[in-house]
Symmetry: D3
Subunit: 248 residues, 6 copies
């Protein structure tokens, strides 16, 4: 169930015994010649929906802008500074915690978010850890990446091997093609060269990755691969979420 499509009375009823929520988090950033800006938001959103069908849990509104400073030399990319994204995560968690949500499962689609979202969790905990009194709620936050479940990695490897790459991957583009088949882009491109070295700021990124991809043969994407990946990732989420909820 998407929170956005529920009423507050439905949420109130659901909170009896269900203290968890899945929050998809992504980015709005270039994904190479044939990848969509919304790729990193679309993937976890689609997978969260699928997992929630099984879990019967609530899926919060997708945080669709993330920490993507390195993509800012490509027009259309949007980035929150880490400090801004941390404030968004904090306010969202504390809002929901105020009325009884206790466990927050962020399903992430963007590698660039990982450090910042982890720091955001620590910022939330730190407010409580620094305080002597009992005023702040006791929350638990977890970040999972849709692309990191073993079964997902196996499919990516089987289908694309090294050619999957690390940005604008054939895998993630497949998922968006599955989700939005009417928006599949046909673009000619060469196989991507290997990553020469790490990137730093936006100018630097574009210098070494001029068309936006990192080592990814994005043109290998297919909606059929997307369907398999969504299924596998949703199964991973189901198991991982259940284990998070079952923690003592």
């Amino acid at each position: 169930m998407r929170l956005q499509l529920m009423t507050w009375m439905e949420v109130e009823a659901h909170l009896n015994g269900n203290r968890g929520i899945i929050i998809p988090i992504g980015s709005t950033e270039q994904h190479g010649p044939n990848g969509l800006f919304g790729t990193d938001a679309i993937c976890p959103e689609v997978i969260a929906d699928r997992a929630a069908e099984t879990l019967g849990c609530i899926v919060g509104p997708t945080i669709s802008i993330g920490m993507a400073q390195h993509h800012l030399a490509f027009p259309g990319s949007i980035a929150l500074r880490p400090s801004t994204l941390m404030a968004v995560v904090r306010d969202s968690v504390l809002s929901l915690a105020r009325n009884g949500f206790e466990r927050f499962y962020f399903l992430n689609g963007h590698g660039g978010n990982i450090a910042t979202v982890s720091a955001a969790f620590s910022e939330i905990y730190a407010e409580k850890s620094l305080a002597v009194g009992p005023n702040q709620p006791h929350v638990r936050c977890k970040l999972a990446n849709w692309f990191a479940f073993p079964a997902v990695k196996e499919i990516s490897k089987e289908l694309y091997g090294d050619r999957d790459g690390s940005h604008a991957t054939a895998s993630e583009i497949s998922v968006t093609q599955y989700a939005y088949p009417e928006h599949i882009k046909k673009v000619d491109m060469d196989p991507a060269p290997p990553r020469p070295r790490p990137f730093y700021d936006a100018e630097d990124y574009r210098l070494i990755h001029p068309d936006g991809r990192i080592g990814a043969d994005s043109f290998l994407a297919t909606p059929e691969a997307g369907a398999r990946l969504v299924e596998a990732s949703a199964a991973g989420v189901v198991e991982d979420y259940r284990s998070f909820m079952a923690e003592a």
Copy 2:
């Protein structure tokens, strides 16, 4: 065109002569017994899409969490503090401005956002106004409320008169019923009492508006009304956006 469904090369091409963008902005907050949490985000999103068909312009990702502190006593509501939302608006605008976007048309669905988003615009301008040098980009931001175009107000008045109310209005719920007909909620409720006085913080709001509505007979909503409202509002956006782009 939704930015999320475009590639960066498409955006780059589009930027030749098109420096504007529409950004829907809403909230995730209770909307009474039969209103959806996502009402304020769904409305401007649907209307922006419709207007963009005519305008041929880009629609950015919806900012779906807003300044909704007053709804926080209802479970499921999410609020960004004004300072957080201001940072989100600032980073989004500066990200896009970096690569050539110049005019930002925020289409808003939530009254509670108006002051904060206006303050956010001033915060962006202030960075530039306080500086002597020419480092910051020259941007223009405008906020329009989907429900405030004269033609929209007329329809609301014709259909609901005073019973439209000011939160969880029959009008906004109609738009969501039109957009998500499979999520129309059937809930019994009485006509809403008149607003006794202004509300202040979240506890205070729930005290005087116990089921979340403010003077709204939300049960009068129909998807047919929604269709009319979307059409009228989109027409208002088309005209208003064109005039914003045409400014000297």
Copy 3:
């Protein structure tokens, strides 16, 4: 009674049964060829003093610098960023609330403050709304513009019609001439042209409003008009403040 001219024991005594305070808030910004920098602070200060004579209430120290980024291309103008002004309002309210003040009536003289001060109120409420516990005080804040009471608008219209304008208005300059007759400036100027379009940042403002006025024939100001306006506005404040204090 001006707080600045009272002792703490007088305030303590007054707080028995009087939980309200009026806080004038203005700006320090250019007001065209014959308008004073302090116009927006002087007007609410004078009017608050007059109203307080009737109300027997306390008038806090005037916040004389406001959100005036758009005037910064004129030498002498001072602006607080929205985030700074929000911190000032927050700290002031919480300081007074700590010892028993509960209702804060900000009497405003500057249109540019409205959004930011409203956002500041929400920032204060949000600290409480986001918290589960009962630690923060329960305060109510209200913003009223001295120039917006119906009786004030009628006088402005009667005296100046459309020529009153929207910045450096004949009305506000009249009030300062009444308050500081020894500082009436005689300056030749033409009738102001109509406002061509909205302004954005400071550079933009000066570009389209080169002498600082917006559509205002400021030379029409007279101290006699000022006297009438002060009287009318003070009467508006008295009624509005009483109704604010009487709220359940």
Copy 4:
């Protein structure tokens, strides 16, 4: 000349060859049984006006709320957190610097402001010192305390000796009695006991200084003493300001 009573054209003309400004800064805080809340703002304001007559310089709007956390256990006291006051000082200085002001002479009336205002100056400088480029203006800020000029100290000593104290001093109350003779308060009080130890937070302050004074026999204040002190302090300001402006 008070900036608040000037027009922007007058300021523009004045800036030819005069790059300095005096900004009075005070506090709104309890000053014992017979001292006014505004004492610390009134004193530098009156003295700045007097000095400016001789200097022919501009006096900016008084910053009348300061860093007074330690007085917050007395009703009516208002405090800005240090971080808030720093933002106010920064924005004010940069606003004026944008159009040509270069030397900022803060005339202070409140010991509690000294550290914070000094830190604010460093925060302003640090923005420039950390940057490689030449974007920020080159400003110089100075803080002077009206009560610290040798001639002022001599008068205080001559008149009150040790009984002047360190808060709600007979000297500062004298200045306010001179400035506002109609607001002289007649209150019985005992000689103040000596200061037992330093104070820390607000609760602690009130615990050891229950009527608000620190070692001050405030009842010794007279308007005649105030007149002498104002004269002496203004002379100190004139000399000190001239030397600040004359710096290479």
Copy 5:
């Protein structure tokens, strides 16, 4: 060479052709019954010194307080909020960058710092990536963990296997015993139980790890093991730093 023991003229001379610096970063937090609070700062400091002997590079002052909110239920632990640590890293990097340092190699001793320091790097880059102009310096930052070099991991595994644990590890305590042999603590303790589940805030951490260790048989530490680990880690740093400096 430790920066703290150099003069500025030595640094200026060194900067000719050497644009890198190593900055040790640790924490001040409980390390179980026999571990020192300074463990996470001491380890990278000792190893950086050793590596710098070979590299001939500068070692900046150790950042000895880190992001350790989860240890705050143990007396003596000190934590910076993520936002604070990010500001420290930013200011330090920009300070050094202002005068020519370009590549910053942070040698880290505390797992809890990783996300926050990575977010800090992004915050630095984001300032530049969001800006159009060329005002900010072009810097590169890298974080390496002293305990993560393959040769280090092999020694840990060889010596302690699974009993090394993940906090207050036998390995890190060995390094401190090597560095401070006069401060080896003899404390009786049982083998550590396995980690039951992830920890969240400080209270939660102490609940599930009552003596502070996580799965670590810290009593196995020896100064001899420390010597080996320092040697291996320093060799790893030498190679890694050289490769960072050699990047195009």
Copy 6:
């Protein structure tokens, strides 16, 4: 005892009846031709260690980077903005206070820190002073400068008179020569000229103090003088700390 070399159980035991801690705070900044970057951190660290031997108290980790914006035109200098240093001091104090530390004695080595650290104390107090409830701990913070004890000043005067100067003083360099005899730098330099005027930002500082010293004949430093100064300052700390702990 250095906290960094203790275990948490030792701290817990110590806290029975000992609620104080000494925290050395310095800077990393140029100290002229023969002074070490670490001078301001080394001095209070060495003196705190010596005093703690007598006092039997805990010495926290040295805050070795301070507010040194004015030194940033010399390569190698590092500065925290005042707002950053305030956050560091706040988080450190609140971390220790959470578990029972109550009195914080900062031993300072850098004049540039004084205002900022004092403001930081007020920021800590203000959080509590602004709050009605009892949630924040009741702490007391004190700042003492190692060089300001009367006995220290006498030695400096006896040895160096006016030639001690005010930055890169012969006295402070003597202390570092005593502490690090193997790092005594032999550099030719002329007697320092007198200070022409106050400095402002970093560029300005270097302009008027081109080799970094302010009025200091730093070449007069000797390790023997350092030994005497350490002894005298440590004795001052012992007495001052005891009196701070003895406060009611």
